[in-house]
Amino acid sequence: MGQTLSTLAYLVSSVLFILALRGLSHPETSRRGNMFGMVGMGIAILATMFSKGMGFGGIALVIAGLAIGGTIGTIVAQRIQMTALPQLVAAFHSLVGMAAVFVAAGAFYAPMSFGIGTHEHIHAQSLIEMSLGVAIGAITFSGSVIAFAKLAGKMSGAPITFAGQHWLNLALGILLVILIIAFVATGSGVLFWLIALLSFALGFLLIIPIGGADMPVVVSMLNSYSGWAAAGIGFTIGNLLLIITGALVGASGAILSYIMCKGMNRSIINVLLGGFGSEGGAAAGGGGDADRPPVKAGSPEDAAYMMKNAQKIIVVPGYGMAVAQAQQVLREMADLLKKEGVEIKYAIHPVAGRMPGHMNVLLAEANVPYDEVFELEEINPEFADADVAFVIGANDVTNPAAKTDKSSAIYGMPILDVERAKTVFFIKRGMASGYAGVENELFFRPNTMMLFGDAKKVTQEIVQALQR
């Protein structure tokens, strides 16, 4: 395939990728969008396979790689549980990072294939781009591996901090810059691998101080990095498709990180410096417990009776619901209530779940129609005319202290205004604090009734009471 033709094919792929993202503006168009993405990728792969200089052996090698990787990817994607989606995405990001490192290594050991020089002399500019690609790719790899381990519970989600951590990272960062300069000056293979090794270490060190609950931001950020890594490789080998796609992915991840940070009212710097949620934060709630009114506890039967007679119920699901695997039985409860003529809506906080939009997928999996699920800004004005707010597995995102108590650790965080509902049912195992270590003022409100127990068990008991 000639140069012009393959460039045209890459252009078509770029447009198809943009359309794939465009399709995600609505669930109805999203499936077609995903199809556009697949076609775009197919065109890109075929155009490259039939480009100049590809021998029969080369094509066979590529097909073997595609077959092995494709089989693994397909099996994993079919078997993965939707609750495990965040760690799957983290694992996938690590693969993109590693692939970027390998492609850069391939370019380094075969510069003529990419038109960036000869074995003796690679253009300085290509060396700069190559080292950036390697560094970002390697950081994405090791950072994603840590994110994966934390999300999958293979290592503690608690932040790992030590004295002088940020200084160490800064020193390593400076060392990395020095190595890159030396690499560009000499083109030495040893320096190439030193850059890779140092970046692996840096990716690891950057993510360990970040707590498990901040992983939504980390996963989005690594998503962004994987895009920048692809763009970096695109600059190295002068490929427009890689540059355009890398920019799209990089922008997407950056926007998601921003949305997640805003959902927690924290700056990205604050998240990245880490350590959040490591202190007990017992004093953060302020005020003594002595002057607190007692907590009202109710039974599932009480809740069933009151909800049956309600007109409008807003369900507020949180990650605790997913942990308890309560989404199916929650939807059964909603179905029974709908038969009684109750209007049901679901309210999703931006940081509910362990990755952006995770809760929407979990509800969709439990057959909750997407037009019953609403975002924070849409649903907040509606709590005032709701009879019941049913909080299941969420905590900090419902704490009214975020609006009033300036001393609170979560002050300023956008929250769901559940306290405006006539009655709030709050399912919870015990009186423990949420991840921010802040006591929830909501528990002590006169219109709140606590339903103590496991989210799935309590909801099942409500369902049984409704069926009676």
Binding site: M41, L66, V96, Y109, S113, S252, P350
Partner: protein, 131 residues
């Protein structure tokens, strides 16, 4: 000024001009790769920045309910890095580069198939009321 002097001066001027031409040639030779490298770089940079803007606008239009599928799709398309991997695996003149290319093709393929498949699974679950 007689004819001989004039001829000598002319010769000297001609030699200086030759020197200058030679210097210019050397400068041009030195500058050519720099210029040749800078121009495509600026071109690529332009495309890159424009693509960032396109990405910014398209992604803000994505409904928050579909942010997880968005991550699935972006993860799959960022594996377009497979293009570089295929070139390394298929056209490299050293064995080591071919091995790296092959490994990169395999890793990227896991992502491409896995990313698109898992996104398809997610999107298939989003249903409207009553359907």
């Amino acid at each position: 000024m007689n004819a001989t002097e004039l001829a000598n001066q002319a010769q000297a001027t001609a030699l200086r001009a030759l020197d200058l031409a030679e210097a210019a040639r050397r400068a041009a030779e030195y500058a050519a790769p720099v210029a040749a490298a800078a121009e495509p770089f600026l071109y690529l940079l332009t495309i890159f920045l424009l693509a960032c803007f396109v990405g910014y606008h398209v992604v803000w239009n994505v409904t928050p309910a579909l942010h997880s599928p968005l991550m699935g799709v972006t993860n799959a398309i960022s594996s377009v890095i497979v293009v570089g991997a295929i070139l390394a695996a298929g056209t490299a003149d050293t064995t080591i580069a071919r091995i790296f290319g092959f490994l990169a093709v395999t890793l990227a393929a896991v992502n491409i198939f896995g990313g698109f498949m898992v996104t398809r699974r997610m999107l298939a679950m989003f249903k409207k009321k009553g359907s």
